[in-house]
Structures are given as C-alpha cells and as structure tokens.
C-alpha cells in the first residue's frame, strides 16, 4: 500500500490586542454586565506590544524559529525571558500586526461590510500590496481601493446601524457592518468573527504557498476546520469557508468544504485529506483554519489576577498540504487511525485506549513504537494560571500511564516516558489551533532529518459545548518516515487469472 504524504505546512499568528479588548467574548460580556470592573480597568496595563509577542518563546516555536523542546531551556515565565534575535519571520510562517490585519479583513470582504477610514485604508493598502506574501498571493487586494469613509461616518454606522468598531491603539479606524437588518445569523458580531477567521486563514494559506513548492493552481481540494459557522438564519453554519478562503489566494482549480468537530476538527480533516489523496480522488489537498476572535483573552481575568500579561492576544492559523507519495516526504499511515467511537465511553482511560492503544495494537505496535506524541499543545503559561493545568503534560502522563497499564513501561519510568515522548505546550488557546497539528511542521523536519521515525497526532474535542451530546470526541493518525516506495506492489490481472486457475485446478483435483 502506498500512503499519501505530509508535503508541507505553514503556521502564522496575528497579534490583535485591540480585538482582544473589544471583541474577545469575555471582555465583551464584562463591558455589557460590569462596565466599571477592575478587570476592564486593568487590561491596558496587561497588553503586550508586537515586539513582546514576537520575542515570546512559544510564538517563535509556533512559526518554526525554535523547536518546542527548546522552550525547556528558556527560564519561565517565558514572557519575562524573550528569545534573543527573535523575528516575526519564521521558517513555517510569520507574525502579522493588527494594523495590517484590518486591511486583510477588508481585502477578503466580498459584501462591503468592512469600512475603513480613508487615510488608514490608503496606508494599509500600500503595506499589503508591498507585503512579499500577501501582496504576492492574494488576488483581492483591489478591495482596498473601495468605499473609504470618514471617522464621523464610521461612528454613525456604529451608533445607528449596530456596526462593530475596529480600533488601532485605541483609535477608531473602521468598523464591520451587519449583513442583514434582523437576521441573527448575520449580525455584525457574527460577521466580525467570520471575517476574522476567513482573513487569518487566507493569510496562513498564502504562507503555505510562500514557504513550500505548492502553487495555488495545483490545489484540488481545501478542507477548512475552524470552530466558526457561517450561513443565514435558514442554514446557520451552512459553510463554505474553504472555498471562500481559496478564492482569496487564487486557488482557481480547487473546490472544498468545511469539517467540524470542535478541537478534533483538524485531525479529522487530516484523515479525510489523506483518504482523498490515497483514493486518488484528489492529488493535492490543503487542510487549513483561521483564528478565533471570540477566544482572545478567554482566561484574561485569571491572568490579570496573577499579574501576568494577557497572553491570549494572538489569532493562530495553519495550512497543511497533503499530497501523493513523492518517495521523500513523511507518509500518513491511513492504516493506523485511532478513533473514539460512539460506544467507547467518556472516561479518560477509555478515550486514550480508543485513540492511542487500539490503532497501534491493530498493527502489532505499542506506545513504545511511537517516538513523539502531539495532542493538545496549549501553552501552559496560559492555562495553568486559569486552573486548567498543564494540558500537554497531562496528556503525556495519560499516554505513559496507559503504557504502564499495558505493561509496556514500568511504573517508575512514568516521568522519563513523559520526557521522551513529549514537548512543552507552545500554542495559543484558540480551540482548534493547538489540537495536535501544530507539531506537523516540526515533525516533518525531525523525520526527514532522521531525529525521529514516527509521531502520533491526536485531536480531542469537547462536543458537550454544542449541547447536543455529552459524547467526547478524539481521533489520531500516524506520520512516519517514507520508505521510498511510491508504487503499490500490486499483482497484475494475468497473475490473478493464473492464481485462480491454479486454485480451481487444485479444487477439482480434491473432488476426485
């Protein structure tokens, strides 16, 4: 069997402090219910500068300038010990500033919902046209020449038409209008989130083209796997983000669709992409997702309480290219897919058995045969102060404990196993973004360099959030070194005929 390959990937961040303040759901709720709260007053003193965000170790790991394991050598808290010579340009992607991003939101807006102040619009139009990635790959930048407005007009849209403001360093530079007078699925709130998700994903897709050999025209299929929903009141969540994003980068030969399963969405999408390529339906599939404005500052109250910066100030994005076997790139083992079944049960033990042990045991492997695992890679500096613990570490301990129960490891080895199979969390808490796949860029490099042979990527999703089921979700897949064989060792028709004839002959003889 020849497997599809992990051909390339891109990872980007967008620093959005003003969106955190005004559109992060927690802050929005606080402004509505408790506008004089101490938390809101404390926010300005806890925001980070763009330079702080660039120098932050986990962010450097996300865009590929350092390995996540390098974080072990940086003293904590990481936000007080910036990476020396850090750059917004990374091996796997880059970090965009908020000034550029509002321009991106307008450039991807097909319904004239984003209105920008004239001078700002002219400035950001030039900046984006000159940008080596967005300027090269986005085909809709002409949107930035359309309908500029005065600050007064923008303020009027906010006051009278329920538009959502766009601030830059606290100054009003634009707004996002509602897309319908009374449709609850097309409010300015919803459109804001959807345009943020679309614009950031299109930025990630452009970086995929910039950092890899893939060209937009060669993409056959796009699978978008964020946690947003677009549609109107008759089909809320109807989609299709994938095509909307591909359009921005000129993927004229692609179609696409959206896959949803909360944080497990990206891993489901990777399995689907691999299956589509292996089946020969498509040659080049891209799995991608943009970031979530709602989740910015989600744990902000706890961060302020602990007097640490508001670290949830970045949108995350990724784009991953799955292609036909080239004999070099790491393969995705479609014969080793772990799934949390409807009947698996929700206890952590049952979940880990279903998504980690079962698929390995099916092919005669154990946990020992996997060099590195990547599950929920949330940055612990964000989650620990909020009482959610160190999530990657908890996952590694669970995998090690499962290995102990299976007698693959001794109990005394638990901490060493955790060390060997894991890495520190390095990804912003953007739901689907930290879920397993952020390691794929590093994993490809490690496998191609011979540092590791095999990794397991795990996606886990909390389906109860949708209030339709209490079931859990989880899915895993294996990526490993390519053995160089690109052709199926299949048997030709003549040989099959000969084999059948031989069997028939033997059968006939047995009847005598």
């Amino acid at each position: 069997m020849t497997f599809p390959v992990l051909k390339g990937s891109a990872y980007t961040l967008v620093h959005t402090p003003d969106i955190l303040v005004h559109e992060g759901k927690l802050q929005e709720e606080e402004m509505r219910n408790n506008p004089d709260s101490d938390y809101l007053k404390a926010i300005p003193d806890h925001l980070r500068s763009f330079d702080d965000v660039v120098g932050y170790g986990p962010n450097q790991a996300y865009i590929g300038n350092i390995h996540p394991r390098d974080l072990k050598d940086i003293e904590q808290p990481w936000y007080e010990h910036p990476v020396e010579n850090a750059s917004a340009e990374g091996k796997f992607g880059s970090i965009l500033d908020e000034e550029s991003f509002y321009g991106c939101m307008k450039a991807v807006d097909m319904f004239d919902l984003v209105v920008l102040e004239s001078d700002y619009q002219a400035k950001v139009a030039k900046k984006l046209n000159d940008d080596p990635v967005i300027g090269k790959y986005w085909v809709t930048l002409d949107k930035l020449t359309e309908n500029p407005a005065s600050v007064e007009d923008i303020q009027k849209l906010i006051d009278e038409k329920d538009a959502k403001p766009l601030y830059l360093d606290g100054k009003l530079v634009g707004c996002v209008k509602r897309a319908h007078e009374f449709d609850a699925a097309l409010t300015s709130d919803v459109m804001f989130e959807n345009l943020v998700s679309k614009a950031s994903a299109a930025y990630g897709l452009a970086e995929l083209f910039a950092k890899n050999e893939l060209v937009p025209e060669d993409v056959d299929y796009l699978i978008e796997c964020s946690e947003e929903g677009c549609g109107d009141m008759f089909q809320r969540g109807g989609g299709n983000y994938a095509k909307a994003i591909g359009e921005i980068c000129g993927c004229v030969n692609a179609t696409g669709s959206d896959t949803r399963s909360f944080c497990a969405g990206p891993s489901h999408s990777m399995v689907e992409a691999a299956a589509l390529v292996q089946a020969g339906v498509y040659s080049n599939v891209v799995v991608l997702a943009g970031g979530s404005s709602a989740k910015l500052g989600m744990n902000g109250k706890d961060h302020v309480k602990k007097d640490q910066p508001l670290l949830e100030d970045c949108l995350g994005t990724f784009a991953i290219h799955v292609a036909e076997n080239d004999g070099k790139s790491p393969v995705i083992r479609t014969d080793i897919v772990g799934k949390h079944k409807i009947g698996s049960g929700a206890a952590p033990q049952a979940i880990m058995q279903a998504i980690v042990s079962d698929p390995l045991e099916k092919v005669g492997m154990t946990i020992k045969d996997v060099d590195v695992f990547s599950a929920e890679m949330q940055n612990p500096e964000i989650t620990v102060p909020a009482g959610a613990g160190d999530i990657p570490s908890a996952n590694y301990k669970m995998i090690a404990a499962l290995g102990i129960m299976k007698k693959v490891f001794e109990k005394s080895q638990l901490n060493q196993v955790v060390e060997d199979i894991g890495m520190p969390g390095f990804v912003p808490t953007q739901g689907h973004i930290p879920s397993g796949v952020p390691f794929l860029g590093h994993a490809k490099e490690m496998i191609e360099n011979g540092d590791i042979h095999r990794t397991m990527i795990i996606g886990k999703g909390s389906l109860f959030l949708g209030r339709l089921t209490n079931l859990f979700d989880g899915i895993s897949f294996i990526v490993e070194a390519n053995d160089g064989k690109t052709e199926d060792e299949t048997v030709d028709k003549d040989t099959i005929r000969q084999m059948i004839a031989e069997s028939m002959k033997q059968f006939a003889a047995s009847l005598k």
Partner: protein
C-alpha cells in the same frame, strides 16, 4: 464553576434538600476542584454565577475519595489510570478543606 452547572446544582438542592445530596467532582486540578467545592458549599467566590452569595452547604467529594464506595472493577476501568496521572493528594486535600 460553569454557570449552568451552578444553576443545575441549585435547582437539585431546591428539589431534594441539602441533606440528601453530595457533589462528586471529577476535576483534574486541585485549585479548580477546590473552587468547585467552595462554590457548592459557601457560594461562588467569583460572584459570577447563580451561586454567588448562596451558601448551599453541600459537601463535595472527589471521585478519588470514593474508591471504596464503588465497584472495584469499574473503578479500575474508569479511574485507575488517572490516579497515576493526577496529583491525587493535592486534589483531596483541597476538596476536604471545604467540607469543614
């Protein structure tokens, strides 16, 4: 603690009374478990939910404390792995604090 869960626990207490109810926690982190135990006993310390200023006086136990109360095979199947993973002693200590 989740605002909806606060409401559910409040409704259950109104219906059955506090003498016939205990709260069983399954959280994985000591501080968060302590917060949940505090919320159902003396009220929501964050003053965000329906239990803000409402001391229900319920006793909370972590699942780890109830090992002897349940079928050993079920416990082994459902909880034993997490005993290896989590800081059991810290969680129990934190939860016990709010039982007076």
């Amino acid at each position: 603690m989740d605002l909806e869960n606060q409401q559910r626990i409040k409704d259950l207490t109104d219906k059955y009374g506090k003498d016939d109810l205990v709260v069983v926690l399954g959280g994985g982190e000591a501080e968060a478990c302590g917060l949940a135990a505090e919320t159902v006993s003396t009220g929501d310390p964050t003053f965000a939910g329906p239990l803000a200023g409402v001391p229900l006086g319920l006793k909370a136990y972590h699942m780890f404390e109830l090992k002897d109360e349940v079928d050993a095979a079920v416990y082994e199947e459902q909880v034993s792995m997490m005993e290896m993973v989590l800081d059991k002693d810290a969680i129990i200590k934190e939860v016990q604090e709010y039982r007076g």
